[in-house]
Symmetry: C2
Subunit: 585 residues, 2 copies
Amino acid sequence: MQRYFPILDWIKTYSRETLTSDLVAAVIVTIMLIPQSLAYALLAGLPPEVGLYASILPLVVYAAFGTSRTLAVGPVAVASLMTAAAVGKLAAQGTPEYYGAAIALAFISGLMLLGMGLLRLGFIANFLSHPVISGFVTASGIIIAAGQIPHLLGISAKGETLPELLHAIWKNLGDINVFTMVLGGSAVAFLFWSRTRLKGFLLSRNVPAGLATVLTRAAPVAAVAVTTLVTAFFALEARGVAIVGTVPKGLPTPSMPPLDLALWTQIAVPALLIAIVGYVETISVAQTLAAKRRQRIDPDQELVALGACNIGSAFAGGFPVTGGFSRSVVNFDAGAQTPAAGAYTAVGMALATVFLTPALFFLPKATLAATIILAVLTLVDLGAIRRTFVYSRADGVAMGATILVTLGMGVESGILAGVALSLFLHLYRTSRPHVAIVGQVPGTEHFRNVERHDVITTPDVLTIRVDESLYFPNARFLEDFVQDRIAENKAIRHLVLMFPAVNAVDSSALESLEAILEMLKDSGVSLHLSEVKGPVMDRLRRSHFLDALTGQVFLTQYDAMLHLAPALTAQTLAAPRRETSRNGC
Amino acid sequence: MQRYFPILDWIKTYSRETLTSDLVAAVIVTIMLIPQSLAYALLAGLPPEVGLYASILPLVVYAAFGTSRTLAVGPVAVASLMTAAAVGKLAAQGTPEYYGAAIALAFISGLMLLGMGLLRLGFIANFLSHPVISGFVTASGIIIAAGQIPHLLGISAKGETLPELLHAIWKNLGDINVFTMVLGGSAVAFLFWSRTRLKGFLLSRNVPAGLATVLTRAAPVAAVAVTTLVTAFFALEARGVAIVGTVPKGLPTPSMPPLDLALWTQIAVPALLIAIVGYVETISVAQTLAAKRRQRIDPDQELVALGACNIGSAFAGGFPVTGGFSRSVVNFDAGAQTPAAGAYTAVGMALATVFLTPALFFLPKATLAATIILAVLTLVDLGAIRRTFVYSRADGVAMGATILVTLGMGVESGILAGVALSLFLHLYRTSRPHVAIVGQVPGTEHFRNVERHDVITTPDVLTIRVDESLYFPNARFLEDFVQDRIAENKAIRHLVLMFPAVNAVDSSALESLEAILEMLKDSGVSLHLSEVKGPVMDRLRRSHFLDALTGQVFLTQYDAMLHLAPALTAQTLAAPRRETSRNGC
């Protein structure tokens, strides 16, 4: 019970002090979340109020199901971009179909996450290697920032890829609206300054540190307020400054997400990608923050929680949500102690939805664009390509390719190409297990790699030590390796496969062993095994392989050699001491 | 040079004896290949002569590029079925578009194979685990056999999946043509008898073994000849027996495959699947046969050869070809010594194309259907499901799922589901590396698993031995594992990661190590490493990880403990003896 409702862990000991900490954190996060949720809704191509809707119910749901004490969920930049890309293929922006598809996307990816959580499939996130996810986020950040430039300039230019966007911007550069540009440019400059300098400035004026932090965090709200007032006062909407306009007042009416199987099939792949990318982000943030207080999070339960949040978002007319990095850090720093802080933030967002929406009428879209640009620039980490490449060329290539494909062909192609590349490189690496031909170290019962040690071998016995578990990605390798050795050396009469490091032999590898056995039979070579681990031996006994084996299974390699080349093996042993050490090099 | 033209290996020493052996083999294979190539063309939904075209140029090309001395390429059952499935989606059978798409399919999959070969990407075949390929072939065999039943009954019924086929057959059962059924039934019975009993029968009549073998192999040709004569003599085509009809006489005119990028994009996925499935079949057959004579094949060069064969097939108006199992075995048994035997077979097929086609006019399609059914029944191995399941439940499930999806949803879905399942199970297995918490064996410098041995530990030092390379599929696991241990034991002040078995640390794992380091820093625990292998250490030096490390890197775990818990560690050591053995259990 407690496993699926982590709320039961902390609700019993909830005290007045915890309440105070959580409330303070909730106020600060609410202030931050209002402009962000509006902006990300616009980024997803949805009406601004949808961003508010996605920031209420999901937070309450996370409070009940989440294992992180400080994670703040809601709309985030990358998932919003992915939503726009997925839904944009199915319907035109502004239509009810577009909105319905976005809701369905949240619902389906929620169901997928929930299913993975209940089946404990958190390891699926491993499909995304770090270079791929990092490259993908960097490229998404660039596309998002570029996509906001038209809003800053007051021109219209759309595109799913960077070249498309830049081309559209270039083409429409003549339509620049000066008022929008000044307003948007000022907002970007102010937000950039407040992010980099405001806190230092305030501290230098002897503002208390706590207040300075709060004021700094409130800078986007200030930008929203000031630009809204300016726009209203000078009637800039008449001068061509795009404004948010009427935002429906009041809470969303809960409703069933569209039950349209054809639609579900069309969005299944993007829903899965959003689910996995969102989960990877969520789990990374949650783990980082939990560690700071030596708390635990349960990765499988986080799937359940994030799934429930998305289903909740869909029922409340919202779009896909994720644990956000910056807002979770703010929540943590502001002193949130339990997920209840998230629930209080939800109350704050609900109040904003009910009372604040009329005040948003004159909010310029350029201000929201500025908010987005500042938020996503922290995602862009071009230095990581160089660092990754220096560390591992393969990983650097995977990262670079993910970035290029994402920029050039869009987010879905980018993430799919990245996953494919990761798996490809992984299979490439694992397809060549380490194997060594070994011989006896003179005077001992040790057997070592012939290439690294002065060891004794006999021409008619070949011993191959396999240093990895045998399964389908590397099964064929051993077949090729043995075949080559047998073909190039006609003197061999016995082959010993030494399995001290083989922890598993799957069906494909069993098939390869059977093929090796057949091949050796045809070549007049008998096959022996040595140092086979218990579980592997148990499993081999369930097949016919051991019955068909032309040789024997020896407990140790020394026993094998005593049997196959008795004179040579025994005479090299100076004293009758027995050692079992073997270090696998 | 010799690498890409293996023909240079054997052409120099080509003797009169080799010529004789090759010629005999070629005659036998030609006899076998004529009905098969016609039948597989029909299976692919193509005119019969296309099967002949696909059996000429590809064989000559393989003779030049192939590394197997005895592999026989040409149209095969599974690839023909996959061709029909892929092309059937794009055009109606019998149209020039259908034929053009089949040619393009051969061309594209040839280019893919050639590319993979030149880039030495043979390991891509590892994507297909043995249970998946075996299940896929079994299911394909069942679908192919079921698809031939209508031809045997003289009814028309089509379907890409088993349920569709059976339903269509059931619906049209009233249209059975008795003449076709008797003819087809007799052909099946005769072929089955000749396969199982004819050789024994001939041997019991004192026919020499060699002749008995040749006569047995010629049984399909006899069936073709007899049923053709019967049909012609009794004018059965007027009674509703479907016949092959006019087959264009003469060799195909070489022509460029259609250069249609839209078409190429549509067939890219099926082309890749045909390429990989065909390659896996080819390489298995080639390896099995090469081993019998202690010859070598080069898996990457086989990709080049098979690619060139398919490109050749496309230029000659043929469809996808593969190294066939039964015909290669026949070629081998008949004594083929070099790939020249394949070239002579091509000459035989060319002669058949020029002179034999008028004789095929009255050949009943039911006979060809009987040939196909007998050929594919050898592919169906239902016992393998049980064997695989007994050996490994996961592999058995993968196999069963592949069979069910192939039967129920068609070949492409089946193979894709199989590949996805294999990768999924593989990632699941590798996502949990073996790690152990270790302590000191009293009186020694050995450190062993605390769960298996009576060892000494101190509460403030935790040592985790990692028994596998760290890379993206398992990187997060270590993070979770460390976090859980640190969260549940607040006394820990030092964490030692012991890396004696870690052969690689990729970028994702480096990121995890950095996350662990950060997490520990926040928890006031310092991180140390011990027994790090040279190559891993070299790589870590290229990152900032070692600079940021809060602890030290120790050469041995004993050194680490001497430093972190000096009193305890040294006092347990009875005598000053030094052993370095460690067996990783």
